[in-house]
Amino acid sequence: MSMKNPLILTPVFLLVVLFAGCGGDDQDQASGKMVRYLSLGAKVRGMDPMDIGDTTSSSVASQIFESLYQYHYLKRPYELIPCLAEDFPTGEDQLTYTFKLRPGVVFADDPCFTATQGKGRQLVAADFIYAWKRIADVKNISKNWWIFEDHIVGLDEFRDYTGRLKAGENVDYMRPVEGLQAPDDFTLVVTLKRPWPQILYLLAHLPTAPVAREAVQYYGKSIHNHPVGTGPYMLKDWKRGNKIVMVRNPRFRQEFYPVEGSPGDREAGLLEDAGKVLPFVDEARWQVVEEDQPRWLIFMRGQLDASGIPKDFYNRAIDPSRQLRSEMKDKGIRLQIFRDPSTYWYGFNMEDPVVGTNKPLRQAMSMAINRPEYVEIFTNNRAEVAQGVIPPLFKEYDPEVINPNCQYNPERARELLKEAVEVHGGPLPTITISTPGTDTLSRQMGEYVTLAMDNIGLKVKIDYMDWPSFQDRIKTKSSQVFQMGWVADYPDPENFMQLFYSKNVSPGPNNFNYRNQAFDTLYEKAKAMPDSNERRRIYHQMENIIRDDCPAIFLVHGVAFVLHYNWLKNYKPHVFGYGLIKYQRIDVAARQKSVGR
């Protein structure tokens, strides 16, 4: 061992490091290729539609896979339009739907199409049936069975059949399902057990996208790495934990930019590309960025086209009047503010012997929290006070309703607490609140709530834990009060109401384990109804039951702030839609000018 080594190494190493640091810039910036730069905050688990259940994976895979329907890009309130379907379905009753497929749709070229030397074949109705059977197949452990469960004639039986198979036995996908028929290649007939008015929303959902059987057979267990879809983009490169690159699918069918939009869209320049062939962007690149500071910095450098605003950087971007600061405007950054289909709450476990049987206690706790103050302290005003569970974004939201349980009223809360002591039959024990998060923000929120409850004379203890431990608590019904929220999958309040339906108790989505006969009856009735004033009335009735019964302390609805550079054209936030990159365009010259500076 030579004694000089360490010292010699040091300068050499430092030199390498310093020179390496002075490397060149992105080569693509110069080539004039239209590239859309995005970031990923969480990991993309896989790109098999059957198995996609998180927004991150959806936002990526939806550029490759398409479903029967999609949301209109510009129109508000949100509205569906056909995608792979040629038109809206036909059918005399509410039980049979006949979908005609758009002709000329082909799968992207992929080596899995061995019969055609890699050339993607035409999309047929059987591809949908195959994809949906995959979701039903118990052995596939799909996250998305909830979509079809108890809806389609024969599909639940198909699921039972797959469950009965022994290990090693293959599922026979040719086994007929009565409610899923393909009389010809372009016709799909779906027969339902009972009316299902939300069906089209769910058929706009990414997991219901058709999948080529050839791909599943060719790639086997690695199918999640090899998405083969019909959409505008194809996966070019995927380095887990690092980046995803997609390129334009040259065989994408003809699709055009919408020619009409909502009021104001034309003024905002969102209709400049009306009627043009989609997509515009040649390449989409996602960079994994898990932390706030680096994401913010690369956005400020122009290495991302759009970004949310991390809490720590809010005040640097937005002034007290909720306007974008002028430095930001000067950089060509624009601000978009829009409502989220989300509601956040402290939920009660109704099976808990203390809180579950004590309505005055729940109401008192709900009144103890000063929601406007909470919004100001914890969200930089990026939220609205909740009066119930349905967010303001929904047309069923009634702005007139003031829920007394959601008003800050410590005097009344103290009175209710006296009642609560009587109901409990003695002094109340300390109430435990489970919180999924151990970070500073979670702790500050915890302290705030502890103080609020202390103020009305109630002792609470906050239990901070990580997400899996939290889920364990919820799903095994072992929490007392829990901090949670829900973001709607589609614009129908049914998606919120199911959270209180007695058949959905834990481990299902009803984590409150709320059981109410009257509510259930209304839910079952409304669930089968198409949108109407009558249904809207029933939803209001249901929400009133919940407001009064107070299985949750409803806190706030989210409001999103998104920044984007002005070189990102046709950018309109959309809270339900995925696969939207095809509408967007990059003004490459503008980007170069502004980043070059």
């Binding site: 360490p6 190493f13 640091g21 996250k143 680096p294 910095l297």
Partner: protein
């Protein structure tokens, strides 16, 4: 030597079994069931049951006593406990529960990124801190020593996160000397790892220099150093030849103890600079209770640790003639 290595590896068996036992106990104690995560937000009880069956959670925990009483020995040992040992020891790692990727494939693709960052960082850190420690030891008691030790103490008390936030903001964003984040494999990697490397070195320097300085000063008090000076050797000569080689022994110990951390990568640096290494893989796995992944990583790490200890012993023997591997 060969027989020594074989013997050492045999001694490692209890260690490895102990690690397996601990992981098994932890997986049973840590709250959180991966089934909920796999099943998604609107899961049915039936899906969760299927997942648990698939993961083998429905099997008896230790021993199927019923099967045992019926004399079906193989079936009796088809329990969570024995399967954990059997699968791990045969390196039969399943796919990740969340990404469905074969665990080995993902480790193989991520370990190079971690190493690309950690190895130069580590070598740089050791080399720089030994060099500084030698300078400090040489100038012991003088103002150079005092100032450097003071800087070390200050440096030690600043958390790594502050170095990262500062470095990324000022050196990368404001001054533009480095890319803000990113990673490419191959030669391109240097461009991306430069800043995280420097920050890692800067944040580690304080404690390393202080430690090595103590090691060097301890050695400098030795009689053989006095002998060396009495021969008429110059200070640098004494430091670099006599002191350094003797100081190698404690240094090697710290080096090898750090090998598992090289493998796990530097979590914070990897997160902030978007380096697709083992750190974020491990964190993700932990956050979704992806037990097969955690198990594979813990097991691999403990294997590396055992190997590291063996390497330490061999290095000791190379450096110190008093130690022989028998």
């Amino acid at each position: 030597m060969v027989s020594y290595i074989i013997r050492r590896l045999l001694y490692a068996i209890p260690t490895i079994l102990g690690v397996l036992l601990i992981t098994f106990i932890l997986f049973n104690l840590i709250p959180g069931d991966p089934s909920y995560d796999i099943a998604g937000k609107s899961a049915s009880a039936e899906t969760i049951a299927e997942i648990r069956r698939e993961l083998g959670f429905d099997k008896p925990r230790f021993l199927d006593t019923e099967a045992l009483s019926q004399g079906r020995i193989a079936a009796a040992f088809d329990s969570q406990f024995f399967n954990h040992f059997r699968n791990t020891l045969t390196l039969n790692f399943p796919r990740s529960l969340t990404s469905h990727e074969p665990i080995w494939d993902e480790i193989k693709s991520r370990a190079p990124a971690s190493l690309t960052l950690a190895a130069p960082m580590f070598i740089g850190l050791i080399a720089t801190s030994i060099a500084i420690a030698l300078v400090v030891a040489f100038a012991r008691g003088s103002w150079v020593d005092t100032i450097l030790v003071f800087i070390c103490v200050v440096g030690m008390s600043i958390p790594m996160l502050s170095y990262i936030l500062f470095g990324q903001h000022y050196l990368a964003y404001e001054l533009g000397w480095f890319p803000i984040l990113g990673y490419e494999s191959g030669m391109q990697a240097f461009k991306y790892i430069a800043l995280p490397c420097l920050l890692g070195i800067a944040s580690g320097l304080g404690s390393y220099v202080r430690f090595y300085r103590t090691v060097m000063l301890d050695e400098m008090r030795s009689d053989y150093v006095r002998t060396a000076f009495a021969k008429g050797l110059s200070s640098p000569r004494v430091l670099f030849k006599h002191v350094l080689k003797n100081a190698m022994i404690p240094i090697i110990t710290t080096l090898v103890l750090s090998i598992p951390f090289l493998f796990l990568g530097s979590l914070l640096l990897e997160r902030f600079f978007s380096i697709p290494g083992m750190g974020s893989y491990f964190l993700d796995a932990f956050n979704s209770r992806d037990f097969p992944v955690i198990n594979a990583m813990v097991f691999t790490t403990s294997l590396l640790y055992v190997l590291g200890q063996l390497v330490t012993d061999i290095c000791y023997a190379l450096v110190d003639p008093r130690i022989s591997l028998r």
